[in-house]
Subunit: 200 residues, 2 copies
């Protein structure tokens, strides 16, 4: 596309490098920013620079943090005998948002995938096993996605953690609350019957 | 949503103020930027600031421009007897991209809309009538959207321009090339028969 302004062209090129934003959306965003106050655009760019330059990863659980150790790991209100293992930061945020979990976390940074060449040493697994070695941690909850890679990683971690005498659990899989049985996919429904919960 | 990092929270809040980007997409973008090189993020923010601070609107046709008068208005290759009137800058870009038009443009900055309180004086109409008064312009093409407001604006402009002795035309409406008649909406199809083109 030809733009009558080189500045707009540059901005569109930069914005469209973001994931999920094509040239058309980028142009729409650029034109939107053109209509904003200079201060508003400056606020946006300042926060992006601060985000990139000042955000660090917690050295204990590897989540995003403003400080060396994140606010969750530092909190005295958290149950330190419980660690929930997730693949990526958004998974942690999703669980935090339920307000149903009071333990600590550990972000793996991915899952074991031989096809993509991701081996255990590429993930934050050693640091997890370091944390579970101190005797304080009693249980590790594996909250990985139900993919082949997620299951492989869960299997690998379970073996390693059991050797340390740690209890390993996984999040419950089943028919989502509010869903109708009729429209639930057959793998989920089948599993929710096979792994049913006894009421007694 | 609670974020373990205030910096991420700030960035998500800023990004989600952009049109069409919700909190979830904003978080995805923020986490993406976290994984980029500092230089790449700086390039992005620099281009946004430059966009906002240095981009101006062409004082002749009101499109986005790096200079007082845009590259289209300045070009000696353009047919100065022809002005295409569009609502917004993206419309101009879309027409430019067809490489089928060689005249000049005029960006109205919207359409007349009594409901939204937009009257002719809120739009770049006076400057259009100034441009068409000099005797050089022979024809004005109205490339407005086929909405009630677009049609109202076209009617208003046609009256004003005809008084100046300017020929007024509109872009052709009809079945898009490549579309099947069967699936064309009935208003378009009906109009394409009523306003058919004679082959002789």
């Amino acid at each position: 596309m030809n733009y009558p302004s080189k500045l707009v062209e540059d901005a569109v090129n930069e914005i469209s490098r973001l994931p999920g934003i094509g040239k058309k959306s980028a142009l729409r965003l650029a034109l939107h920013l053109l209509g904003q106050e200079v201060e508003d655009v400056t606020e946006l760019t300042k926060s992006l620079i601060a985000l990139r330059q000042k955000t660090v990863y917690c050295k204990k659980c590897h989540t995003i943090s403003d400080t060396d150790v994140c606010s969750i790991c530092k909190s005295p209100k958290r149950n330190e005998s419980l660690i929930c293992v997730v693949e990526e930061v958004p998974d942690l945020l999703a669980i935090e948002n339920t307000a149903q979990y009071n333990g600590l976390y550990h972000v793996l940074g991915g899952v074991i995938s031989p096809i993509e060449g991701i081996s255990p040493s590429d993930l934050n697994i050693d640091s997890l096993l370091d944390r579970t070695q101190n005797g304080e941690v009693k249980e590790v909850i594996l909250a990985l996605n139900a993919t082949m890679e997620g299951d492989t990683t869960a299997f690998y971690l379970t073996k390693k953690l059991r050797k340390q005498g740690i209890r390993v659990s996984g999040i419950a899989r089943g028919v989502p609350i509010g869903s109708e049985l009729e429209y639930t996919d057959e793998i989920t429904l089948g599993r929710s019957i096979a792994k049913r919960i006894m009421f007694d």
